[in-house]
Amino acid sequence: MTLSIEHLTKEFGKNGQEMVQALADISLEIRDTEFVCVLGPSGCGKTTLLRIIAGLERPTSGRVQIDGTVIEGPNQKLGMIFQDYSLYPWRTVNENIAFGLELHGVPKEKRHRVVQNYLALAGLSDFGNSYPHELSGGMRQRVAVVRALAVEPSVLLMDEPFGALDAQTRNMLQRELLEIWEKTKKTIIFVTHSVDEAVYLADRIVVLSRRPGHICEVIPIDQQRPRDRTSFEFARVRRHVLDLINQKCSFP
C-alpha cells in the first residue's frame, strides 16, 4: 500500500461569497503499515483532511493517491471510523459487523465465519446478538472498528474515535487498537487533539496549525511499544512534542 497526499487545499464557500480556507497545501507520504496521528487544535481542518482522504469530500486543489490511483470517491481500500461510532441501531452487533460483507454479496456461511472471527478480535464474542444501545461506548467503538476491518481495507481512517469515551476506557481501547494494528498490519491515520494519545500511539505525529491548516511539523516517535505512559521516557517525548508545537505551531 502507498498513500500520497499531494498539495491538498480545501476551501469552503459561504453562499458563493466569502471563501473560508480550511486546508493549505498539505503534502504527505504515508508508508505501508504505518501508524500516523494527525494532531491539531479544533477547527484546524484535520477532520476535513481525513474526509478528503476517505473520498467523502473533494479537495479544492491537489489530490490523494492510493496505490497510484487518484481517490475520487469512497474506496474499498479505505475504512473509516467516526467518533460517534455510527452503528446501525436496528442491527445487532453481528449484523453490524456483517453489513459491509452483505453489500458485497458474501454468502451467509462465509459471513458468519468472518463475523465470528472479528467478534473474537474485538473481545465481544458474548455480545453478537446484542443491540448497540445495550453496549457501553467502548464496546460500541470496538464494533465499529471491526465492522470497518471486516471488508479488509488496507488503510483505517479514524476521526477522534475515542474522544467521547472516559479516560480509562480510552486508554484500554488505545492498547487494544495497537494490538489489532500489529495483528492485522493495517495502515492507520488517526486524528486526535490529544498530545498524550498521539505520543502513545503514533509512529509519526503530523501536527497541523490553526486554520487554514497546514503541516507545521512532522515528529517521528521512535519509542518502543508498548509505551509506558508513566515512564520518564514517555514524559520526555511528550515534553519534546509539546515544545515543538509551542515553538513552531503556536498553540498549546
Binding site: 473520498g55 469512497p74 473509516m80 467516526f82 455510527s86 446501525y88 441501531p89 453489500l103 443491540y131 471488508v151
Partner: protein, 265 residues
C-alpha cells in the same frame, strides 16, 4: 417496604381516576334519559347495549353491525394501502433527492391544507358513486400524514450512517433499502398510524355520501332516517372502538419493532 407498597397503590388510584368521567357520563345519561323519556332524542342505555350485544343481528335490512364494520374496514384498508404505496416511495425520493423535492414540494404544500372531505364533490364528479370515490377520499386523508412523516424520517437519517455505508461500498439502491428505509422506518410507522386514524374518520364520512348502501357510516345515517337513535349511538361506539383498536395495534408494533429509536440516545 412502605415505599414498595405506596407506589402501586398511588398508581391504582390514578388509573381508577380515568374511569371516573366515563362512569359519570353514563350515569348522567341514564338519569337524563329517564327524565326526558324520549327515545328519539336520548334512548335508555339498555337499548344501546342491546344493539351492541347482538352484533350479528340484521339492522333495518342493512346487514349487521359486524358485516357493516367489515365493509368499512375493507374500504379503509384499500384506500390506506393505495395512499401508503404512493406516499412512502414519494416521501423517500423527496427526502433523498433535492430535485424531486423541488418538483413536488409546492404542489404538496398547496394540496395539504385541503380537508379530505372537500374532495367529495370532485370525487363524485370524476369517479361516480362507488368504491373508487370512497377509496379516493380515504386515500386523500391518509396520504399527507404518511408523506410528511416519511419525509421527516428520511431527513432524520444520520449523515454518518449513509457515509459509513458508502465507505463500505454500498450502491445507491443499497443505501436506500438498507440504511434510509430502516433508519426512517420508525417515523414512517408514525405516519402510517396517524394516516390510518384519519383514513378511518374519512371512511365514515365517505359512506354518508348519497347512493352508498353499506358500511358503518351508511348504517348510522340510515338509522337516523328511521329514527333509530340507539343504532346511531351503537354505531358510533363501534367506530370508536375499532379506531382505538387499530391505534393500539400500531403502537404495540411500534414498541416491539422500533424500540431502538428511544434507546438510541
Amino acid at each position: 417496604m412502605t415505599n414498595q407498597h405506596a407506589a402501586p397503590r398511588a398508581y391504582n388510584r390514578r388509573s381508577l381516576l380515568k374511569f371516573l368521567l366515563p362512569v359519570a357520563i353514563i350515569v348522567g345519561w341514564e338519569l337524563l334519559a329517564i327524565w326526558l323519556d324520549n327515545p328519539f332524542i336520548l334512548p335508555r342505555l339498555e337499548s344501546v347495549v342491546a344493539v351492541l350485544l347482538t352484533p350479528t343481528a340484521d339492522i333495518l335490512g342493512n346487514g349487521s353491525l359486524i358485516t357493516n364494520a367489515a365493509t368499512s374496514l375493507e374500504r379503509v384498508l384499500t384506500g390506506f394501502l393505495v395512499a401508503a404505496a404512493i406516499a412512502i416511495p414519494l416521501g423517500i425520493s423527496m427526502g433523498r433527492y433535492g430535485t424531486v423535492h423541488e418538483i413536488f414540494d409546492s404542489l404538496m404544500q398547496l394540496l395539504r391544507p385541503i380537508p379530505p372531505l372537500a374532495w367529495v364533490p370532485l370525487a363524485l364528479a370524476w369517479f361516480k358513486i362507488g368504491l373508487v370515490s370512497m377509496v379516493f377520499i380515504i386515500g386523500m386523508g391518509a396520504f399527507f400524514p404518511i408523506l410528511l412523516n416519511t419525509l421527516d424520517g428520511v431527513k432524520g437519517v444520520k449523515k454518518n450512517w449513509i457515509e459509513t455505508a458508502e465507505i463500505l461500498g454500498a450502491k445507491e439502491r443499497q443505501i436506500l433499502s438498507r440504511v434510509i428505509l430502516p433508519g426512517a422506518a420508525p417515523t414512517i410507522w408514525t405516519g402510517l398510524r396517524v394516516g390510518f386514524g384519519i383514513a378511518w374518520m374519512c371512511v365514515v364520512a365517505a359512506e354518508m355520501m348519497p347512493g352508498t348502501n353499506s358500511g358503518l357510516g351508511y348504517l348510522i345515517i340510515s338509522a337516523y332516517n328511521w329514527g333509530q337513535v340507539p343504532v346511531i349511538i351503537a354505531g358510533m361506539i363501534v367506530i370508536g372502538i375499532i379506531g382505538i383498536g387499530f391505534d393500539y395495534l400500531f403502537k404495540a408494533i411500534d414498541r416491539h419493532s422500533f424500540s431502538w429509536r428511544e434507546l438510541e440516545r
